[in-house]
């Protein structure tokens, strides 16, 4: 047979067997090309500058290269190992190693660059769609139109050519290193791992689980007040990370087989088909992939975690803006207020207005603080807080000598939990006003300018407020002591009002720089978060697909390895259906365990600090996790299909 024929035939076989590899390759190219096209698109300049995303984009494209590169190298490694027998045979019949490398290179070249061309096409068609998504999440009102970019094409070609060269080089090294004998031996190496469980492995198994649990436990305490200085918190984070990652590794290395072993012991040797196929196989095979699984789990956890957090921020943008601005529009200057109101009147926009007098005063909160904070930036004996009178707050009446705290943001609530009741004391310049703390009000009264970005507002009775006004400490007052909140009565008018507000910005600025519009604030946050979400999502998706492919490839190998077992089982009288049922159970674990561990990791990571990012935890997190699970399951289902074929061929 001539070399050309040989190459063509191999190629045909490969395409049939590795369609998923080709798919992944095409997908990687498409994704990268789309991404780079976006980056080079002139329209993007605007979006980029408006959200300062250029550096972000560049970092992301490097991240993309790393993920895709590692994936392609690893996948190639799996495949060359699978073909080692064939390579050994070529050598046996007298082909030189260089000749074989050459054949492989040509074969790969055709497959690789064929996929690259297709990928580029797809990428270009997809980029418009991706652009639309980007515009949507960053709330840019433009129709996506794209131009083919030569620069993007060239960059894509360069990157993938480099990866190709790297792959061929590793193949060359691999073939160089192998002798004919070792090439034949590669495939049967897992057999040696089937041994009785040693005590050491059991210890590893238990330790792994303990590590993970203690990591989770620590993470739940991270912002609970036990760690009070930044260095302590940072140290705790490093320890958590170490515990969880090491724990995950040990979990795969030992715990899985430890648990399976326990279950098996109970059966006393009497296993049904599900147990034969799942328990016994998982016990040994998961161990040998421990490192790979750890990496996949850790990175998926990272991806899910980051995506959840950015989505939480994005999702909570409106709520956060409400907390910060507290009315549709917030002003801190009487003249600015009148001017704005006049402009609204001129346009016939109905609105309501709140004016709140605000005094800054020091408050002794030591008694109601649930934990003792040291090292953080304030002194519980003298916490500077804004004070307002109950007359300025709708539907609230505070008795003299009592007080409520209002608008206490989520984040602070987690940082410094308060008792339900207790004694506080306002420290005036001369005298003190002791007050009974009655609880919290869940309502932001004044804008973040007064609350220093989220501290509670102290609501007191008018008489106490008057008393304090006489005795206030001028040194800590802000430049403005009046909050003017304008709420538009008709929701539909907000956009127009916001335009008026934006037009007047310069005039406001002359008087006092502290004014805000809720709509602007939330849009701003959405834009910022939209881009991060887009990029993290992009990288996460790429990682998900590549790691899913790798797990699938591993399963293909395992299927081939276990084929003789299926032959025996079918001879013994198990039907294909019986076997398939067992395989389904097995795959449930094979894909389910890394998924569940990854989800758990990210859950605890998100749980420990989500309040720093937004106001809503469950909906955004569950949505991200659900999406991830669905996409991930596809690979599990594909692998079951593959096993179906193997089982069919087994007899």
């Amino acid at each position: 047979m001539s070399i050309q024929k040989l190459i063509l035939r191999n190629l045909r076989n490969n395409l049939k067997n590795y369609y998923l590899y080709v798919f992944a390759l095409i997908f990687s190219v498409a994704l990268y090309f789309a991404f780079v096209t976006l980056q080079f698109d002139p329209a993007m300049n605007e979006a980029e500058s408006s959200v300062k995303g250029a550096a972000f984009f560049r970092t992301a494209s490097i991240g993309l290269i790393v993920i895709v590169g590692v994936f392609l190298l690893y996948a190639n490694h799996i495949f060359i190992k699978r073909r080692s027998k064939e390579i050994g045979l070529f050598q046996l019949i007298g082909m030189t190693r260089n000749r074989i490398s050459c054949i492989l290179s040509v074969e790969n070249f055709i497959m690789y660059f064929g996929s690259t061309i297709i990928g580029t096409f797809l990428g270009f068609s997809a980029s418009k769609f991706i652009m639309m998504i980007l515009y949507k999440v960053t709330q840019v009102n433009e129709t996506a139109s794209l131009h083919f970019s030569w620069a993007a094409l060239i960059q894509t070609l360069i990157v993938f050519t480099l990866i190709y060269v790297l792959i061929m080089f590793t193949n060359y090294l691999y073939i160089r290193k192998q002798s004919i004998l070792s090439l034949f031996r590669v495939q049967s190496s897992t057999e040696n791992q089937v041994k009785k469980m040693s005590v050491f492995e059991m210890v590893i198994g238990v330790v792994g689980i303990l590590f993970i649990i203690s990591g989770y436990y620590l993470s739940s305490k991270l912002f609970g007040g036990d760690f009070t200085s930044i260095t302590e918190i940072f140290l705790a984070m490093v320890i958590i990370l170490g515990l969880v990652i090491l724990g995950t590794y040990l979990f795969y290395k030992g715990s899985v087989s430890f648990i399976m072993n326990l279950i098996r012991k109970q059966k006393g040797g009497y296993l049904n088909i599900n147990e034969v196929l799942s328990l016994s196989s998982l016990m040994f095979r998961m161990k040998s992939n421990a490192l790979l699984l750890t990496i996949i789990t850790a990175v998926s956890a990272l991806a899910i975690g980051l995506l959840s957090l950015t989505y939480i921020t994005y999702y909570s943008a409106e709520k956060t803006a409400e907390n910060y601005v507290s009315s549709d529009f917030a002003l801190t200057n009487q003249d600015s207020g009148s001017q704005f109101k006049a402009a609204l009147d001129a346009e016939n926009i109905a609105y309501s207005e709140r004016t709140v007098d605000v005094i800054q005063a020091e408050l002794n909160v030591k008694d109601i603080l649930d934990v003792q904070l040291e090292g953080l930036n304030f002194d519980p004996n003298k916490m500077t807080l804004p004070i307002v009178s109950d007359q300025d707050v709708k539907d609230v009446n505070v008795s003299p000598g009592e007080t409520y705290l209002a608008g206490y943001a989520n984040m602070l609530q987690n940082f410094m939990p308060l008792h339900d009741r207790g004694e506080v004391e306002i420290i005036g310049k001369e005298s003190q006003i002791p007050l009974k703390y009655q609880g919290m009000l869940d309502e932001p009264i004044i804008s973040s300018y007064f609350t220093n970005g989220g501290l509670p507002v102290v609501v007191v009775d008018e008489s106490d407020f008057k008393q304090l006004q006489e005795d206030r400490n001028e040194g800590i007052q802000k430049s403005s002591s009046i909050f003017i909140g304008v709420d538009i009565s008709n929701h539909g008018d907000i956009k127009q009002a916001n335009e008026i507000f934006n037009d007047m910005e310069e005039k406001f600025m002359e008087r006092s720089p502290h004014f805000a519009s809720q709509l602007n604030t939330s849009m701003n946050q959405k834009q910022n978060m939209g881009l991060s979400m887009f990029i993290v999502g992009f990288l996460g998706l790429t990682f998900l697909i590549t790691s899913g492919c790798i797990l699938y490839f591993k399963q293909m190998d395992q299927g081939e390895e276990e084929k003789p077992s299926y032959t025996i089982l079918r001879k013994l009288g198990f039907t294909r259906k019986d076997l398939l049922r067992g395989i389904k159970t097995k795959q449930l674990f094979n894909f389910g365990i890394p998924l569940v561990i990854g989800l758990l990791h990210s859950y605890f990571a998100v749980k420990s600090g989500w309040f720093l990012f937004g106001t809503e935890l469950w909906t955004p997190m569950l949505m991200v996790m659900g999406l991830y699970t669905v996409l991930y399951s596809i690979f599990g289902l594909l692998s079951v299909q593959y096993y179906k074929k193997v089982i069919k061929e087994a007899l």
């Binding site: 057999e191 040696n192 089937v194 041994k195 009785k196 098996r264 006393g268 040797g269 009497y270 296993l271 049904n272 088909i273 034969v276 016994s280 196989s281 016990m283 040994f284 003789p564 077992s565 032959t567 025996i568 089982l569 079918r570 001879k571 013994l572 009288g573 198990f574 039907t575 294909r576 259906k577 019986d578 007899l651």
Partner: protein, 251 residues
């Protein structure tokens, strides 16, 4: 009493243009409790015959009855069901699942047949002791010697008390000592449990353990030898003579 009856079985491999008829209208009948060896040159169709008899492969034409069930007419699912209850297997290699211990491997046929765990343990203990693998029951196949592995497969083949046991060169990978060990046990069990055994072998010594040897050539039965009352040594000599006439490799 006849337990297996094969009538005019044909087996053809290949497609329309490239046919290769391996079995050419072969007739065969096996009595209950017999220990039958099948011999013949390499490529003569011994494995093929065993596979069709044991329902792993299908005949092209002809019928096979085992215990009055016509297995050639059964659908795949029913065949699996049939194998589950009536047949036992021992092969040259790839006999055991390498991720299961010896005991787990042996109990597999009972777990499909839904035999109770208690009953399973009783049967296991008896047979495993008989074949001398009780001590290694918790080891994995790669921790067992070749002989132990084959004895394990033998126990597995017997444990669900099948009507008939098929063995394809069970001693092929064993040294002569372990081989005669295994065959001793097999013929022992054949006696005690009056289990029917059909074994394909190249090895004349192995064949001399059975009651009857069938020689195959050209897809037909060439001749048969019955042990009768003679000693194993004499039977061995008979086999050797016939084998000499038959020659080595199928043309």
């Amino acid at each position: 009493m006849t337990i297996l009856q094969a009538n005019k079985i044909h087996k053809t491999y290949g497609n329309k243009f490239n046919k290769h008829e391996v079995l050419k209208g072969l007739d065969l009948s096996i009595e209950r409790g017999e220990f039958v060896s099948i011999m013949g040159p390499s490529g003569s169709g011994k494995t093929t015959l065993l596979n069709v008899l044991s329902s792993i492969d299908r005949v092209t034409r002809g019928t096979i009855n085992i215990e009055d069930h016509e297995i050639t007419a059964m659908k795949e699912k029913k065949l699996a069901e049939f194998r589950k209850h009536h047949l036992g297997f021992i092969f040259q290699e790839y006999n055991l699942l390498d991720t299961l211990t010896a005991k787990e491997n042996i109990l597999l046929p009972l777990s499909i047949a839904n035999v109770s765990k208690k009953e399973a343990t009783i049967r296991f203990d008896r047979l495993a002791k008989e074949l001398g693998i009780y001590e290694v029951k918790d080891k994995y196949p790669n921790e067992l010697s070749g002989g132990q592995k084959q004895r394990t497969s033998a126990v597995r083949a017997f444990i669900h008390e099948p009507s008939i046991i098929f063995a394809d060169e069970p001693t092929g990978a064993l040294d002569s000592k372990s081989a005669s060990d295994l065959l001793d046990k097999l013929s022992d069990l054949n006696d005690k449990l009056s289990a029917t055994i059909v074994m394909v072998t190249h090895d004349m010594t192995a064949a001399s353990f059975s009651n009857r040897v069938i020689f195959i050539q050209d897809g037909q039965i060439y001749t048969q030898l019955t042990k009768g009352e003679q000693s194993r040594q004499d039977f061995y000599k008979d086999i050797m003579k016939t084998q000499g006439v038959l020659g080595g490799v199928q043309q």
